[in-house]
Amino acid sequence: MFLINCPFCGERDQSEFSSGGEAHIVRPKQPTELSDDEWAEYLFMRKNIKGIQFERWNHVHGCRKWFNVVRDTSNDKILSVYKMGEKPPVNYK
């Protein structure tokens, strides 16, 4: 079970959080301009990486804030945690 360092509350048990899937998928500003394929790309397609993955987490049983997590899915190590709208503190490929 992960220990997640909420950028607002500090280190807490995973049971306080819920995962929100892949991060940095921006909702298109003008969805009506998109073709079915382009919209489907936004709506359905996710990378599901083995390795370094950028994810969204919500401190749902805490401050209710959403934030971003860099996690290596091959060993579950959380490499970095940062707020919405921020860039990850270190550059990961």
């Binding site: 220990l3 819920s18 969805p31 079915d36 959403w66």
Partner: protein, 1000 residues
């Protein structure tokens, strides 16, 4: 009765005699015994029958790895427990245990016949044989297998014991209290690290604590004496918590571990009462030191499974720790030095024994000591067979060829009453692998070792393959110093003398003159799989260890193959001609030893099992005979039966009153979200399908919320309380998810919006009064409020006081009747309700529950999200195109509404159904077809809501049907088990299409 207890030890209290029952017969042991040691002291080896062949089986080990001595504890239906290892169960007064894997009894076992037909039961037998005929499985095979398999009985009553959970945080957790663990704990705690040491046994010290061989010394003391001193020392350390009788069940990522502490299992029945039986520790440790030791390997030879055949080291422990000898004429069969310790211990206590050693020769100090005591040693010999049915009585040995592949020379028969076997040691790497650690293979002694790759965890001592006590300072102490980043010097001058050497001659499957097919060389004692089975699996094409394991069931019993996995791997490697290290191992999964459900659940039983939410009117509902329905965690009144009414009658009465006069519903459970901020209107525009900007203050509007995929997600009425203040209602079940979803958009997609969301579901209680007389009742409650249609029309909102308490009143309707919802702070909810009931008396105001609510809304064709929708329905599918704004540029899900799939005309669409026989009520969920003759029948959809309407005096239903929108007036069929029901597709609104009642 024979007595095999031959000497006193400090661990057995001979002043405290303990009586216990085993298989119905009474025996005696002493405080300090395990069930296994007490049985052996009584001369009992036979403790069960094997799983498949029902061969007699005896105690093999003295610990968690025990495959045979598995018993059922207790005879009461609520307290009985299966799968308890007699080797771990501490004896207590009044213990009742029975052997598990035999029927009708351990000495005469009907399944023993399997032993004679065993050529018919090869690997995969159960898969191959019981496949056919199919109908035989449930009626014949399964009951028979279950009856004779004897996997133990589950308790049938609720568990009366108390269990507990505890969360703890430590700097360092040390698993295992042997020499390495004790050293680790001392080093950590003395260096200001908050440390927890756990050990599954009653006392610390591992196998060294009873070690009394003169040739193994630490600082000139017997190793056991030295260790006792160390234990005394660490008990004084204030930074160190020691938990004995505590075993780690699971090692999860991020150093999160579960440990089970046994608190009362060793106490007599009367002392167990009202105490916590077991406690589950949920441990977070910054660093973990694994010192779980190693277990001795058996050897794989013909008939290696007879009662009286034990692991050599276990014979030693029964002797030196419990004072019990496993026989009077013992043979030790080994491929390494450790059996010599057992031999010398036995010799000292006057027990005759001889050694059969696979090795050609060996010359350590220990062996010289054995030789000088006159112990007979057969070097370069192998046991090729054993004899005796209920217990071993003799065995056969032969000389090994030069290469070890065959046997040569004459058979020698040796008589004995016990055989000890030692195939070397297997490091207990379970904890390391459970945590996600990988393993390396060390060829020289054929062991898997932890591959260190984490800064948070190390393995030390023999679980790390460091079997050599002499190197403990180099290997363990220095490693711990580095790992904990400390500089502890306590052990730098410790002087260790150990006369054992590590060489062994490893042969996984020992050679025999008899063809393999005619031998019984057991690998997994508990699941009865043999070397032959493994070879057969390979012959049949299985290669992966995971497949071989499943096909032969090797390592899949309750012991998880602690004794068998290595041999299975070794034989596969040898047969396939590959290096063992390249095969990998099977996965070790938690729990390490079986856990009871009680321990896992802890205190969360009965009314603590799940959170129950009750409205502030709940007590009134209870007093007034309500039947309740669970909606999410909420308890909602379902219906209020009067004078023994059944549900149907109650619902007919409630719904009729609501339409004829007045009804009242507790609507407090609806989700309520307070929305404030200068961008609140814009926010609603984006989350609902319809437009919100023009909603006047004091007005209410129904909204439909979609997912981004265009499917209906939730619905409810939202009220504009002031310019920048809205109150949104959601479905009862959807409240938490809607809030979460809205927060998600607000925080991640539209952070520029000035909007604040607060859940106020629990803050307000709601009484909903509907029916033609509802206005009169409202007037009695709020005499100063102008209730005229001009001042307070449908879909609007007013505030007023009820005895000085503020109320929010909405004129909104889910029933189609004139209807008001009164919201009040929850602490006044109960009073509000009672005042409504009082005011409504003269109008026959009838409380109704969720069932009537569902019926009333169905008459009006209002959907319930989650009942009439299932996450695949668009607004258009629901014939609700009217609520989707054409003007708005964007809202959640808008783009998906014209994807090629969502505009398909043959989607399932919501329709009404009327049965040809108006008395016939359809079953919700029933399938809908147009033609029952064509095969396969084309399924068009299903019924989503169905009721008998007392107001219309006929059956009505809502359904989703393929292309339903175009089918109005068409005949369809609902095929049921015994008949076909004819229906006609209708409009979804069955009552008052003109909405006259809303303004009645």
């Amino acid at each position: 009765m024979p007595n095999y207890r031959i000497h006193k030890t400090e661990y057995i209290d001979e002043t405290k005699r303990v009586s216990f029952k085993y298989d119905g017969k009474t025996y005696f042991g002493y405080e300090g015994d395990t069930l296994a040691s007490a049985l052996l002291a009584n001369g009992i080896h036979l403790v069960g029958r094997s799983f498949k062949y029902h061969r007699p089986r005896g105690i093999v080990s003295c610990g968690a790895e025990e495959p045979n001595a598995i018993c059922q504890i207790g005879s009461k239906k609520d307290l009985t427990e299966p799968n308890v290892r007699a080797t771990e169960l501490e004896l207590y007064e009044g213990l009742e245990a029975s052997s598990q894997n035999c029927w009708p009894n351990v000495k005469f076992d009907i399944g023993g016949i399997n032993n004679f037909i065993s050529p018919l039961i090869p690997a995969g037998f159960y898969y191959k044989t019981f496949m056919w005929p199919k109908s035989f499985w449930k009626k014949v095979y399964e009951p028979l297998i279950r009856l004779s398999a004897g996997l133990g009985k589950s308790p049938t009553g609720p568990d009366p014991d108390i269990y507990d959970h505890k969360y703890v945080h430590y700097d360092v957790l040390v698993i295992g209290g042997g020499v390495s663990g004790i050293i680790a704990a001392k080093m950590a705690a003395k260096n200001n690290l908050k440390t927890l040491l756990v050990d599954d046994k009653k006392i610390l010290g591992g196998s060294t604590i009873y070690q009394n061989n003169e040739s193994i010394k630490i600082d000139d003391k017997l190793s056991s004496e030295w260790l006792k001193n160390e234990i005394q020392e660490i008990k004084k350390l204030s930074n160190l918590t020691i938990k004995t009788r505590t075993s780690i069940a699971a090692y999860h990522g991020y150093n999160f571990l579960l440990a089970k502490e046994n608190l009362t299992d060793h106490l007599p029945e009367e002392k167990k009462k009202n105490k916590i039986r077991q406690r589950l520790w949920k441990i977070r440790a910054k660093k973990v030191i694994i010192a779980t030791g190693s277990i001795e390997r058996p050897l794989v030879f013909n008939n290696n499974d007879r009662p009286g055949i034990l692991l050599s080291n276990s014979i030693n422990k029964y002797l030196d720790y419990y004072g019990v000898t496993c026989g009077e004429n013992i043979i030790l069969f080994t491929n390494n030095d450790s059996a010599y310790e057992t031999s010398i211990s036995l010799h000292k206590k006057g027990i005759k024994n001889i050694i059969v050693d696979l090795r050609k020769s060996a010359s350590s100090e220990l062996i010289k000591q054995a030789e000088s005591l006159g112990i007979k040693i057969y070097f370069n010999h192998v046991v090729t067979n054993t004899f005796g049915y209920r217990k071993i009585n003799s065995l056969e040995i032969m000389k090994l060829s030069e290469d070890g592949n065959t046997t040569i020379g004459n058979k020698i028969i040796l008589s004995c009453d016990c055989l000890g076997m030692s195939g070397g040691w297997t490091p207990m790497v379970h904890m390391h692998t459970q945590s996600g650690g990988k393993l390396d293979f060390r060829d020289e002694d054929q062991v898997f070792l932890p591959k260190e790759n984490s800064e948070d965890q190390i393995s030390v001592g023999s679980c790390n393959g460091d079997f050599d006590l002499e190197n403990i300072i180099d290997k363990t102490v220095n490693k711990i110093n580095k790992f904990l980043e400390i500089d502890n010097q306590d052990y730098q001058d410790t002087n260790i003398i150990c006369s054992k050497e590590n060489d062994k001659r490893n042969i996984w499957l020992l050679p025999n003159k008899i063809p393999l097919g005619k031998t019984k060389c057991f690998i997994d004692f508990q699941n009865d799989s043999t070397a032959k089975d493994i070879k057969l699996a390979l012959k049949e094409g299985f290669r992966s260890i995971e497949h071989v394991k499943r096909y032969t069931t090797t390592g899949m019993a309750t012991d998880q193959g602690k004794l068998s996995n290595m041999h299975a791997l070794g034989i596969i490697a040898d047969t396939a001609g590959v290096k063992m290290g390249t095969l990998g191992t099977t996965t070790f999964r938690p729990p390490f030893t079986p856990l009871t459900f009680g321990t896992l659940v802890g205190r969360n039983v009965g009314k603590f099992f799940e959170v129950v939410r009750k409205t502030s009117m709940h007590e009134w509902h209870v007093e007034n005979n309500a039947e309740f329905e669970n909606v999410g965690q909420w308890k909602r009144p379902w219906y209020y039966p009067k004078n023994g009414e059944n549900m149907h009658d109650a619902v007919q009465r409630e719904s009729k009153s609501a339409r004829d006069s007045a009804g009242i519903l507790d609507a407090s459970t609806l989700g309520k979200i307070d929305i404030q901020g200068t961008d609140a209107s814009e926010f609603l525009n984006r989350v609902y399908t319809n437009a919100w900007s023009k909603l006047a203050i004091g007005k209410c509007r129904y909204g439909l919320m979609l997912n981004e995929d265009g499917m209906v997600y939730d619905d409810g009425v939202t009220t504009r309380i002031s310019e920048n203040h809205y109150l949104m209602t959601t479905t009862t079940g959807g409240a938490a998810n809607v809030l979460s979803k809205l927060e998600d958009y607000l925080q991640t997609e539209w952070p520029e919006l000035d909007v604040y969301l607060t859940s106020v579901t629990d803050h307000y209680s709601t009484a909903s009064i509907c029916g033609p007389n509802s206005k009169k009742i409202l007037n009695k409650l709020f005499p100063n409020l102008d209730l005229s249609d001009e001042n307070f029309p449908h879909m609007s909102f007013k505030e007023d006081k009820l005895k000085n308490i503020n109320c929010r009143i909405m004129r909104i309707s889910f029933t189609g009747e004139l209807s008001y919802e009164i919201n009040i702070e929850s602490k006044y909810g109960h009073s509000l309700w009672k005042m409504c009931i009082e005011a409504g008396k003269e109008f026959n105001l009838t409380p109704y529950g969720t069932e009537t609510m569902h019926l009333l809304r169905a008459e009006k064709g209002f959907i319930i999200v989650g009942q009439d929708t299932d996450g695949t329905m668009t607004p258009s599918d629901l014939q609700m195109d009217w609520i989707v704004s054409k003007k708005k540029y964007d809202f959640i899900g808008k783009r998906s509404l014209y994807r090629s799939d969502t505009v398909r005309e043959d989607r399932k669409q919501l329709v009404g159904l009327l049965t040809d026989d108006p008395k016939e009520v359809l079953e919700e969920g029933a399938q809908i077809v147009s033609d029952v003759k064509s095969k396969p029948i084309d399924m068009l959809g299903h019924v989503t809501s169905s009721y008998f309407s007392p107001n219309l005096n006929k059956s009505i239903a809502l359904a989703v049907v393929r292309s339903g929108k175009t089918m109005k007036g068409q005949k369809l069929i609902i095929p049921m088990e015994n008949k076909n029901i004819n229906v006609t597709v209708s409009d979804t609104i069955f009552l008052d299409k003109e909405n006259k009642r809303l303004n009645a």
